[in-house]
């Protein structure tokens, strides 16, 4: 098994390329996730209507849509390996932490594509006032990183259980509550002209803590 820093970087890069390629071959995961995100968005927008002057509600709705899109999409990466019986082969070829990091980066890209479609649509459909772009994009990036870090680990966990998809949301939600609290309060702050620094600091420290703990634990995830 490769051990040096350069070879594990190469392993992570190879996992990422493999993920992108197998996703691109079927595009099943991406199209399902995009459709789900747009469905959630439609339901929210249709039920709530346009609300240009209620930025506090808009911030909450935006992150609820993104949270549900992430919950529907991110379980996919590990469940696919188990369903195709390729996890054992993958384990023989790379260390658990490089598999996890490769999949984490892939999930992050995946969330990025989802947000590229969902967020502009949300702003248009809800009649939102133009956000303060710098802080807004920073919050989106940090929030996605935190979502991906927690969701990737839970996805790896539930891939080996019976319930799989049904369990994913239940297990991920407690880990994502601090993320939801921080991103919503930060998004509210940037719309009302406040500072996003507290929310950004909370998100960065939370993401780093989750990643540090999960890198320690990935070795225990696959043993048989």
């Amino acid at each position: 098994m490769p051990n040096g820093a350069s070879s594990s970087a190469a392993a992570i890069w190879a996992i990422l390329r493999k993920e992108c390629r197998s996703e691109w071959r079927t595009r099943y995961g991406l199209s399902a996730a995009l459709l789900f995100a747009v469905t959630t968005l439609t339901a929210v927008s249709f039920a709530a209507g346009r609300m240009p002057d209620r930025t506090d509600v808009l911030a909450a709705l935006l992150w609820i849509v993104l949270l549900f899109a992430a919950l529907a999409a991110l379980a996919h990466s590990f469940v696919r390996e188990v369903e195709a019986h390729t996890l054992t082969l993958l384990r023989l070829l790379a260390s658990p932490s490089s598999i996890a990091l490769g999949k984490l980066i892939f999930n992050l890209l995946f969330l990025g594509v989802l947000e590229l479609v969902t967020v502009p649509l949300f702003l248009v459909l809800m009649g939102a006032p133009p956000p303060n772009w710098g802080p807004f994009l920073l919050l989106l990036a940090l929030g996605s990183a935190a979502l991906a870090a927690a969701a990737t680990l839970v996805a790896a966990l539930i891939a080996q259980t019976r319930g799989r998809g049904a369990l994913f949301a239940a297990l991920a939600l407690p880990l994502l509550l601090p993320v939801l609290a921080a991103t919503v309060s930060g998004t509210r702050a940037q719309w009302s002209g406040g500072s996003v620094a507290p929310a950004a600091k909370l998100l960065i420290s939370y993401t780093l803590a989750v990643m540090a703990v999960s890198l320690l634990l990935y070795d225990h995830l696959w043993e048989e």
């Binding site: 080996q160 259980t161 880990l175 999960s214």
Partner: protein
Amino acid sequence: MTLRVWLFVWVAAGIAAGFLWAPVVPVLEDTTRVFYFHFPAAIITPVALAWSMLHSALYLWRRDLANDDHAAAAAELGLLFCVAATVSGSIWAHSMWGSYWNWDPRETSIFFVLLLYGAYLALRASIEDPARRARLSAVYSCVAFVPGLFLIFVVPRIYFSLHPDPLLNSRGKADMDGRIMACAVALVLGFGALFFWMLSLRVRLGRVERARESVAS
């Protein structure tokens, strides 16, 4: 056997003293009494969670299924105490704050603990192989430690809370009637003993079940 009887007498006496002997706090009036159930249960809840997480970490380190028994039993009992603390707190909040649920920081953190126990037990229920169940639920338990720290220790201290500080106020000293304090401390000890007694029963039961399965197979 006798310890069990003494524990029953101790807790019953503590509750009776809370109703008959201890005075009520002026503003809270008779809602003071909920304190004797709510406070000990709310103290035992994080103790149970910490016990469960400690044994999860020990399991990952030593791979002894006895640790897994402890982690599972503490989570089940912790859920019980957590529900007791949440329900009693919610009833109290209705009479004092005017609503059963208002996402006060304390309510947020106890609700998070409730979700966490639920998710942990759902994860356990969905895996059949004992070693794999122990391993995966231990991993989840260790990860949940991170948001647990954030929500239990960071959030209630940053955001403003209406929750009364029961034992120490912001000036760092107790300003509570000695009799109320005595009942509360007695019941914390009683609930703590109750928790560890039920935990030992559950752990022994787990060991017996495992032994039976290994004989049967």
